[in-house]
Symmetry: D2
Subunit: 344 residues, 4 copies
């Protein structure tokens, strides 16, 4: 019998998680919440997704455009949605998840998956499937970490396991806005995060508890992917080939190659579109075969992160972990297969 | 029995036309040509598309990376591909189509579809399916016009038919490079085409023979869509509602709405990705419901063109027209349906 | 005896007008207002400009950084500034000028110059020096129109005078944010103004009362200049050379040339920096010699507008006009000379 | 008696060095070379700079536009320029300097200053004035290192001297094209340099011979400044305040402050324009007061580099060093004063 999943917050991540849930054989999407009328609501309706109002049913009998010509009649309100669900995925903006937990999920004693915008404490467990699936097993609340933290964990985890890590520094060059977002700049500048080291390092430690990591962050005028430059002081020596072999065997890490003319974040996303996945997403963390360097025990590498999609996989696995599905590797394989990830 | 189609030039347009051919019930893709090793070739191979070398078979026994580790063994050369094909679609860069015509298609007396980079004279017929399908019927050579010309023809054609056109001026604000293209700028400038009126006007007249049109063009630092600003001096008065109704009934024109929060080219492409078409393409010309203005007989409107995909539809219809499929409307409908265009 | 000028609002335009006032032999800058601590205030202090608090002297004894380490002690408040001034230039953001008029200038019966963000009605006279200097003569309130309107007026005015204008359409391709502004996007999109025709046309008519003009506007991801594409239906025929000759004789219009490798807005601004004016500004409206086209009575041209500086000249002339300096041409010449404009 | 300096290559760096030479009391600019007609030549002529043809006088009697309407008559050819000069600054593109050395400077036994595009071996001495002025004293050939290397040397040198350096890693986030350059992308992507560690590290060691430095580089779609993220393993502990104090006393390093609302490369360049230096340049390396972090002996910081101007200062000092001016500090002070650098 399939698991009934409710989804709160139908934005950049939420709409992807909704589609991913619909692709799982062991899950069923009860519906999603909406609170403003827009094209995302119209497309959801077209896809046959049930829409619930993120407020009282009476007040929001309709989700309408401000110009009021167009409306969507929701199936009910958020409580109706939660009534039908076994578990909920909360994809609302930063801090709203915590409010929803207190208002809706705690009183109902309902399991919930949160996103990286929430604090670790809100869930108690921070999660990257291939690193610490078991920590989330049977838990009421699980927090999928941010796209950047997920990316750092996926590539650092095997290095730590095989060669040991003394310390890591990552410079995170972030896309300043998502592709649809016309509101945020900069258009022609680099904007540093003036907190050194930045808060991203400690966030990695909520998953990889023993990795000594420092981070520096900045935003640049691009919309498609983040880029990380990493230096790792390893405990044991390894060659660039050793590291490459390790990542080739690591799930949800994709080795891309300049030899194939994948030279930039733009060509990664073009390749992703060619691969015919939903929305042309690239949920794997991409490392360049030609972008791995070793000097003694120092490892240097570059990785690209598709901020819109990498955590979608984690949300699916977190649902299984929280609801007691014991085999983490099996869950990862099921999710990968459904999303055409890593050779499927 | 299905039509065997060969494809020469597997780039931005070529790879899309190849996928579109594979979606047609009355067509079969014989294969595509390649001449450098890259991710597009690897993805084609993964999709089961036969690859032929764009040179002598002996010389190009393999299509290899310059770092020579990776190769693709082609099925044969371009002549082998053409031997098996009933018709060929040439998606090579500007001027190469003409060379290919003389070297390959003319000697074989083979039907060929060319792109807008070629001159009108190379084909003799320039083509936008919904405007002049019949002109291409049974012709040996048909030229699908450029993305910009296609966009202008699709929205102007019904205006001309219903209200008549005295003259048109279009300012074409062009994306400076395709999304994958990291080589071309500008990064922070507007670059005018210093030819006024520009050559785009006469190109429209190769399809809409009687429309008196002038054009001005410039490039801006964006990769996703062109935008056209048009002023039309109509022969008869029409209201903005009349024009809107006309376009709602026009195939391959999509009315987008600010009311749905589609406010920019970015949100159009985001919506296209949500619609789950291949590569997140938007082959329809997009006009804003709220972006139509009328003052007396003067009509003002804005349209957005997805430069990578609008002409893909035309290529499919041109194949049918050239090979004698008589019913243009039926062809358009078949193509639309296969590509999920306009409500399908 | 020199005219004492106060300046309210020390932002993008205000700081330039302040510097320009200091360059005039017949003017003296009393001081400027500030209300937040930032680098602009520090530079003003370094330049010896007196700073006044935009609030009560007691409340704002200091203009301090929110981190409170750094402060500037103002000379007094806005009332102290106005006490010493003969006339005020108000460079505050949209609508604040109107509030300031009612709160400060009207009660004091003080002459004031406003910017294009205010409505025409706030001043009663809208102003482009070379078009309607005399209209502003001796007036209490004068509104310098926006950078875009100023640009349209400067190049259209001589066309109207010499050849007559039936109608004009301008597509205004606007820089989405100023160079310093890291807050506004889009980063990779074109954002249309969904009002057709847009409000810019009627604004031109506040200066060129009889020009029948329609406008369409959009924003693009660049920070340095606006670009306008114009089509003019002239009453009399003129050749491209005639128009070029006309503009060569028109003040504050600069003919730039592709022959000199000035091919884009980027190269215009690079040339401006080479010319060693303050801030590398380009207050002249730039038209391309190679970007003028004529078909019968239809004229097509392209112009580039430096949004940060073109209106600075107008502010200086407006001060003279409002205070009764009768000779408009002489004022224009004095301003040009001080700012190294047009051959000085 | 003043030193006669010739300048070869009047591009982005060359035109700035020419202006800087003209500002020195102990130097005189003989002239510059040109080989294509453009606005830079026209502005040089307007500034009274003598122009020489970069070829035989007879062949290049004129430097003309390809459209041939406009020409500049040079004073002579490159040999005439060198005849009058005591020393030459070569600002030609990569590798041309080496050719010029062999063709012109060696045969004449003429002292020459080269730029960072040339290899270290071409000059034998690589130069950052405040790090190794004495190494260049009296040398025939001196190489001013690249903008990036200059930036790294200026801030690392005092750290090395006061606290010692075990190792450094720098991630260099580079502006992809200069402000005037409309030809190079990317428009919306991050392009990594797939060489790890990159060649920039060894280049630093041509100046700071004992610093163990590794570098990673990438390009991003901005035109105005590079940004470096550094991690330094120091030999001795130091607090963030210690480091800040050190840099406040370091010439050609400028501490910028978020407290003053200098939050990005855009606001740095806006402040530079307000400071009214030629072209709005910022030749100092900028570090953020709020962007220095220390954890034990690990130092993290961010710096911004104005790629067009930082090395201009070094060229002036290199002229003095090569011609035997013994007091490096005095030279630095003279240069700073003339260019309004560091409080002058």
């Amino acid at each position: 019998m399939s698991l009934k999943v409710g989804l709160i917050g139908y934005g950049t991540i939420g709409k992807r998680v909704a589609d991913a849930i619909m692709l799982q054989k062991d899950m069923e999407l009860v519906g999603v919440t909406g609170h403003t009328y827009n094209y995302k609501m119209e497309v959801a309706k077209m896809k046959g997704i049930k829409i619930f109002a993120m407020s009282d049913k009476d007040e929001f009998a309709q989700i309408c455009s401000t110009s009021t010509r167009d409306c969507i009649v929701p199936e009910g309100d958020v409580n109706n949605l939660l009534d039908e669900a076994d578990i909920v995925v909360d994809c609302t903006p930063k801090k709203v998840g915590k409010e929803n937990k207190e208002k809706y999920y705690l009183p109902r004693n309902m399991k919930a998956i949160f996103q990286g915008g929430e604090k670790h404490e809100t869930a108690g467990v921070s999660f990257v499937a291939q690193c610490n699936y078991d920590e989330a097993l049977g838990k009421n609340y699980v927090r999928v970490v941010s796209c950047n933290t997920t990316g750092l964990c996926r590539t650092l985890h095997p290095i730590e396991k095989h060669y040991g890590i003394d310390s890591v520094h990552a410079t995170m060059v972030r896309r300043a806005a998502d592709p649809w977002d016309i509101y945020h700049g900069p258009i022609n500048a680099i904007v540093p995060v003036l907190e050194l080291p930045s808060h991203h390092g400690p966030d990695v430690q909520t998953v990889l508890h023993n990795v000594n990591i420092f981070t520096t962050a900045m935003s640049v005028p691009t919309t498609i992917m983040h880029m990380h430059s990493l230096t790792v002081d390893m405990k044991k020596e390894a060659s660039a080939e050793d590291i490459l072999d390790l990542w080739k065997k690591t799930t949800r890490v994709r080795v891309v190659r300049n030899a194939e003319k994948v030279r930039s974040t733009a060509e990664i996303m073009e390749m992703a579109k060619d691969l015919d996945r939903i929305r042309g997403d690239m949920p794997e963390i991409c490392v360049w075969e030609e972008g791995i360097g070793v000097k003694g025990k120092k490892l240097f590498y570059l990785q690209a992160i598709h901020q819109e999609s990498d955590v979608v996989l984690e949300n699916i696995d977190a649902i299984r972990a929280a609801t007691g599905f014991k085999d983490g590797n099996k869950s990862i394989q099921m999710t990968n297969e459904s999303m055409k990830v890593n050779g499927f």
